[in-house]
Symmetry: C2
Subunit: 129 residues, 2 copies
DNA sequence: GTAAACTCTATACCTAGTATAGAGTCAACA
DNA sequence: TGTTGACTCTATACTAGGTATAGAGTTTAC
């Protein structure tokens, strides 16, 4: 299968597939005589794995580590579990930050009403502080 | 005051101050004979305003709009209020996304325990799907 | 006079892609 | 056989909001 088909089946854009290859997330695949990339089913499943990881917010480096880990099926999976755990911590922290931010924005919105002039704007006054 | 002092008083790094100037967020200031930037108290308050906006997640372009708006004290502040309201919507949406993500990560963490091998890892198995 | 501290510009780098330009490849159709 | 259209190739620039240098010049203190 050529890159266009892989792109459609995986849901990653063609450029993204090439970008992943450049980042060594994807090993370089075979080429046709005309220099076209040729993929097989395993490329597709790797790409889907990568996509799933990205949707969780894992970085390319972290995904690389996961892919490396998968190469050694008999080792301990502790590093995988730790990685997910660490991410949960990060996401939780980010949610807390955003909740605080939301509260600030709410207070700010309440500090002004429509039909005011800029010099009386409650939002701008809060931003000055 | 020179850029180092402004940096310390505002909490923005020296590079960031120069970066803001380059982005026209900050108008170019006066220079000494030796070509050093010289700031006054109003520069500091503008910079603090910018920092406050950035901490709310406003983009540089949006901050530029706010600073422009502040130049016309007698106009309506509706655009300011709208901007904050739009941000609240965005932040709320982002929080929801992250909460879903957190749930997924939680399920994933529960799918595996320590002392398993990579080939039995519940996390990796979930990522395959 | 000189050393330390400060500042200057310009440039490269970061993440995770996206969007071109310009060239080459391949299949189908007339 | 020629040509059109769809596809692919590489290389490069761009995004946002900075951060981190290199190499040079300036100022201040001793
Ligand atoms: Zn992570
Ligand atoms: Zn207002
Ligand atoms: Zn916004
Ligand atoms: Zn596991």
């Amino acid at each position: 299968m050529k890159i266009g088909e892989l792109s459609k089946k995986s849901g990653c854009s063609i450029q993204t597939v090439r970008f992943y290859e450049k980042q060594h997330l994807f090993k370089a695949c075979n080429r046709t005589e005309g220099n076209y990339r040729i993929y097989d089913a395993s490329s597709l499943s790797t790409l889907r794995f990568i996509k799933q990881c990205r949707s969780l917010g894992l970085t390319i480096i972290e995904i690389k580590q996961l892919l490396d880990t998968k190469m050694n099926p008999d080792r301990s999976c502790t590093s995988v579990n730790n990685l997910i755990h660490q991410h949960m911590t990060d996401v939780t922290k980010r949610i807390e930050e955003l909740n605080e931010l939301k509260q600030t924005l709410t207070d700010m919105a309440l500090a002004c009403s429509d039909n005011r002039k800029v010099k009386e704007c409650g939002v701008l006054q809060m931003l000055e502080k």
